[in-house]
Amino acid sequence: MSTSELTTPGLGGGLRDVLRSRFLLKLLVAKELKVRYRGSVLGILWSYVKPGVQFFVFWFALGVFLQMNRNTENYAIYLFSGIVLINFFNEALGNASRSVVGNGGLIKKIYLPRELFPVASVWVSAVHFLPQLLVLLVACLFAGWTPGVFQIFAAVAGFMIVALLATGLGLFFGAANVYFRDSENFVDMLLMIATWASPVLYTWIMVRDGLATVFSAGTASVLLVIYQANPLTIAVELFHFAFWLPTTSEITDPMIAAPPNLLDMWLPIGLATALLVTILGQWTFRRLEGRFAQEL
């Protein structure tokens, strides 16, 4: 009757299984989005309205009241291009860390590639990221933004770095959360730090100068390298390069607006780090998933 071989059940192929279950992934993502916007009249439109209003508030309060533009040209765009990326990271990692425990009822009863849940969380966040990106693009176009090949390349790379990083850390903390529920609180703390540990609200020049006044020249340069090696810093700077830098005029010095060697050195480093984190996250996940069903 059946010609197939005897196989051992329950040994997944990791993220490869997710590729094979694309249809289920699609349904899980659609489910999340439907459930999130159920019973609201505007539905998914909310994800356009909210960032739109947020940008307007930034532009008005920070640009007009606080005069932040004196230090940083087009500060609202500077800020917003970093914030959309950090929002994506925060939502993706926060939800991915809770996804395994959140779907415990299912994981306990039916075997399916469990990597699907963290990956679906990151995917849902990417869907929420798109409207924010659109608002950013509209704002950039008003500010005279014209994209070039390098800009688009940098934006895609920045997004990839954050998506891979969130997937890897999401797999790690999602699995750890099954054993220690403390990890979701730890992640919340991590996310709070993430916003301040990357040049979202301030510029990298302030970090360089700040470190130089506090530490000796040698220590300061080491600390700056550590700061810059953070994949989130790299991704945020790539977004500044892609969206904010082209909207600036002569008063912004392009030599210090973006960190040196951003595209030819930091970009590959950022991608490689994010990829490594994904591999490590997936490795840990697979080592821990054998006991998910009994621990949940």
Partner: protein, 241 residues
């Protein structure tokens, strides 16, 4: 005949008390890992079982004897501490009806979601959709959110999806007694139809009359050990005595 399920000497230990905080684990580590962090017991103890293709086996035993745990090992949800499990072909565990249902989605969305969770492709669900709805007798309610379903309707739809997944091996845990009397009869008829079509069945149920009707072979579990493996009538009469 070829083997569909091959279980070789599996054991599974569970902890009686779970440690969930880093603090407790840390204290334990600092004290030089003295003592076991948690007490353990055997839920499955050196269990071996071979099921041939097309056979229908009833897994019997008192509450807590390890029946559901054994099914979870066959479906791959749990991995054994020692021993091996191997299966041939696609295995569908009807461990609990509606495990993948989401109350805020419509019946239609849930059919697709649950079908995909049980391993069906988009094409298969498209093709079988009408048949699934017909079998469940849900009719016009298919586009209503399932949280508004009566519990019987909910179970009907879930069961209907499950029996349409068409795997080679069916693991059934306590789900035959769903719905009202006519629907229950229909479910049992459907299960017998699957058995007649050469599917392998492993059925867990406390309804002894029902398993005697559906299965040929009976396996009795006691405290995680197989104590009897015989034609189902003999096992049932031992349980009744």
């Amino acid at each position: 005949m070829t083997t569909a399920i091959e279980v070789r000497g599996i054991s599974k230990q569970f902890v009686l008390r779970h440690t969930r905080s880093i603090k407790e684990a840390f204290v334990w580590l600092v004290k030089g890992r003295k003592g076991d962090l948690s007490q353990k017991f055997h839920a499955l103890d050196n269990v071996s079982l071979d099921v041939r293709q097309g056979e229908s086996v009833a897994l019997l035993g008192l509450n807590g004897s390890g029946k559901s745990t054994l099914l979870k090992h066959i479906s791959g949800v749990m991995l054994p501490d020692s021993g091996t499990v191997r299966t041939r072909g696609r295995v569908a565990g009807l461990i609990e009806v509606g495990a993948g249902f989401h109350p805020d989605l419509s019946g239609r969305d849930n059919v697709y979601l649950n079908g995909a969770i049980l391993g069906m492709t988009e094409q298969q669900i498209d093709d079988l959709f009408d048949s699934i709805v017909d079998f469940s007798e849900i009719g016009q309610f298919i586009d209503t959110e399932v949280k508004f379903y009566s519990s019987g309707m909910y179970l009907r739809l879930a069961f209907s999806v499950a029996v349409h997944t068409n795997p080679e091996v069916f693991l059934v845990d306590e789900i035959l007694a769903v719905g009202d009397e006519p629907f229950q009869k229909k479910c049992i008829a459907k299960i017998m139809e699957l058995a007649a079509a050469g599917k392998t069945l492993v059925v867990v149920s406390h309804d002894l009359d029902l398993v005697a009707q559906v299965c040929e072979r009976g396996v009795l579990l006691e405290h995680g050990r197989i104590v009897m493996d015989a034609p189902v009538d003999e096992v049932v009469s031992r349980m009744r005595s």
